[in-house]
Symmetry: C2
Subunit: 486 residues, 2 copies
Amino acid sequence: MKPSIPKGTRDFSPQEMVRRNYLFDTIKQVFQRYGYLPIETPAMENLQTLMGKYGDEGDKLIFKILNSGNPFSDIDENDLNSIRTAVLAKIKSKNTNKDGITKITKNALEDEIDKEINLFSKKISEKALRYDLTVPFARYVVQHQHEISFPFKRYQIQPVWRADRPQKGRYREFYQCDADVIGSNSLLNEVELVQLIDDVFTTLKVPVTIKINNRKILSGIAEVIGEKEKIVTITVAIDKIDKIGVDGVNKELQENGINDIAIQKLQPLIEFKGSTIEKLNFLKQLLASSEIGLKGINEVETIINTVTICNLQSAICELDITLARGLNYYTGAIFEVKANVGTLTSSICGGGRYDDLTGVFGLPNMSGVGISFGADRIYDVLNELNLYPESVSTSTKLLFVTFGEAEQTYCLPLLAKVRKAGINAELYPDANAKMKKQMGYADDKKIPFVVIVGSDEMQNGMLTFKTMASGEQQKIVIDTIIEKLK
Amino acid sequence: MKPSIPKGTRDFSPQEMVRRNYLFDTIKQVFQRYGYLPIETPAMENLQTLMGKYGDEGDKLIFKILNSGNPFSDIDENDLNSIRTAVLAKIKSKNTNKDGITKITKNALEDEIDKEINLFSKKISEKALRYDLTVPFARYVVQHQHEISFPFKRYQIQPVWRADRPQKGRYREFYQCDADVIGSNSLLNEVELVQLIDDVFTTLKVPVTIKINNRKILSGIAEVIGEKEKIVTITVAIDKIDKIGVDGVNKELQENGINDIAIQKLQPLIEFKGSTIEKLNFLKQLLASSEIGLKGINEVETIINTVTICNLQSAICELDITLARGLNYYTGAIFEVKANVGTLTSSICGGGRYDDLTGVFGLPNMSGVGISFGADRIYDVLNELNLYPESVSTSTKLLFVTFGEAEQTYCLPLLAKVRKAGINAELYPDANAKMKKQMGYADDKKIPFVVIVGSDEMQNGMLTFKTMASGEQQKIVIDTIIEKLK
């Protein structure tokens, strides 16, 4: 049996960990510089906290945990009979498929079986793994509302789990790094998040474009073309313009029941090219009759103008009215960040404002705005472009190489002294290991300096100090070594 | 519906997180100072990686994850019938209990049901949550053996999950902080771990006693009293001496089939009091005829002598021959650490040497030694004694308090400047919030300094800088504030 890990999950080696910690520490420091404070929530949430929050597709991707003890103790003969019937029906349908059972009948049957299985699953599972950090955060805010001082700025860096089909760059366990502020309607929060994104990616040396949009603008567009109810359909279609072109978008709109007059009204918008200011001016005319649309334009304008006052360091910030990310949840600003370098085309950070983040848990009218950094994708970008500072490549700084037990014993107090000075150091533990092996260990572990101690060194205290990169050797006392490495 | 989290799990507030991070960062820094490098493994392991590694009781406490998709797709009529029969039998046995079914019959029935349920569980669950960090580490070493340079010193700080009955100080999700070295037989590794423990607890200001023992000494004792096979029984009994006294220990030995002569031979050992050196000398005589016993004594002596050369900073290190922790796994050194302060009597750190850590995964003869810090218990000790440095209590250092949108806009570039200097700062986001509310926010968040900006301040750039603790106010420019807080 060759040991392995579940598909879609990963081990991280020391080298990878050091790089990931650099990434997480950078994000963490910026979060804190902006006044966001950390919280953590359990990996497991009650199933009812999570179910129904991510749509039907999301619900299916939640990893459920089998009840401990005897998970079947609460089930009775009826449960067993119904799942038995459902599974038998499935087996039967599979076998008789070729004999002419139609596709629709099969789907309906599968739905029935899904229902049975859901009912049964609920009885044997009451907990599930965290699927994102937003729902646990909303639950946290409601549960601890009396201990929290609002506006509450929190960050959270923890793994989430999704039963997605594993594929390149997609994992079943991955980290999210979220910063949200809840209990404040001020647009300064949006401004601050744009600055924060700029700060993180400037520090990481990744040039990015921050696209912003506003749900209210999308509502306005749907309103002025007379298709208020079809806002999602319209936005989803417009979002594909880069992939399928204007004709493709129009075709999709038509197929989804948008009338021809509405589609015609949309044309100038779909075809419009221009700077953010030009876009805003164009939108002001187009949405002149829509109160909500004008409010959206005003919000975007305020955010972009204020961001401009503060001067972003390296990010480009622009309006993109095709941006529809998470449209079902967002009510105001929508953000998405893409790297301007490297081959990754998907977004590496995103977020927006929810007007009612906690209503589902019984605390209505709490507006929140936040962003989520996709740590694993950013990690891929940093790796591809090798954007790690040199200082990130190592951890142990000094290795003591010795030729026997007496030398080891001699080195122990020296080693303690070096460590006490805050220098990461070690002594090769096996007394009978050959020089070559010990030096190979230093090489493999990328330890930049070694101290070689034999009988000469023990007699006069002048230790052989070797710089691995250059091969240069010098004879110096331990205090000088400490001075050099501090 | 009041939102809640699964029993035995916890949310961590910003204040708790800051304290926990202090604890984790301290441990991490010491690990790195000793040349241990971080790895991480997935929260989910394949069920077969975990099952059978923790004994029957442990197996029952592993949290299993329901297969995603349709977890019941692979089960057939027979599976359903057998679990149905088993559960029905259980229901039946419960109902007829009073009518005279004996206890033994019931237990046997329960065993049968357990077997059925296990078989069924296996079909619907192939993954489980990490139960400790040692088994995933062993799996990691075997899986990545060709990328690893041995001896491999790794640390790992991650949560583990156990379906224990939740009780005070025991959680179903808790962090372990493990450091292990694998691929080296040298006792210097043991010495180093003792020093490392001393370093961690000295930094945390918790005085501790490090008890050490050796499995080989316990083997020697069992050998010389002629009960070689009953080493576990003997050690478990001796381990209880503080609780049940000499008579209690003897009674337990007798009940477990240790013969009277053997018990008599044990008496001097059980009753022996003395320093570590006296104990070692006493043991040398007692175990003179046992080769393995003498080897154990020699190992302990080497470790303690070498530790003495290096001078521990604050920990007391002593031999405790009743220490039997994890006896089923350890083959050499056994460690356990208890705090000498506070009310917690259970151990806060422990470990030992395994001669064959990875054999179960197909890589034999890899000796490893390691320790595990019980972060949640240490956290309880630090909280009880309030051992946090002052610097740990806060995160945001400066709050901008303003009286309107114009003031906010004026402050934005100043805020950016302060942050650019690396100072954690924020601006109260809602322009129309009253002074009292903004100051209350600073109080709640324990922000030590605020800058108050009104129309006067905007005109001449002299900002009102207030120290929250003293209430002292002064008028100074932003650069002076930055200088002060840097």
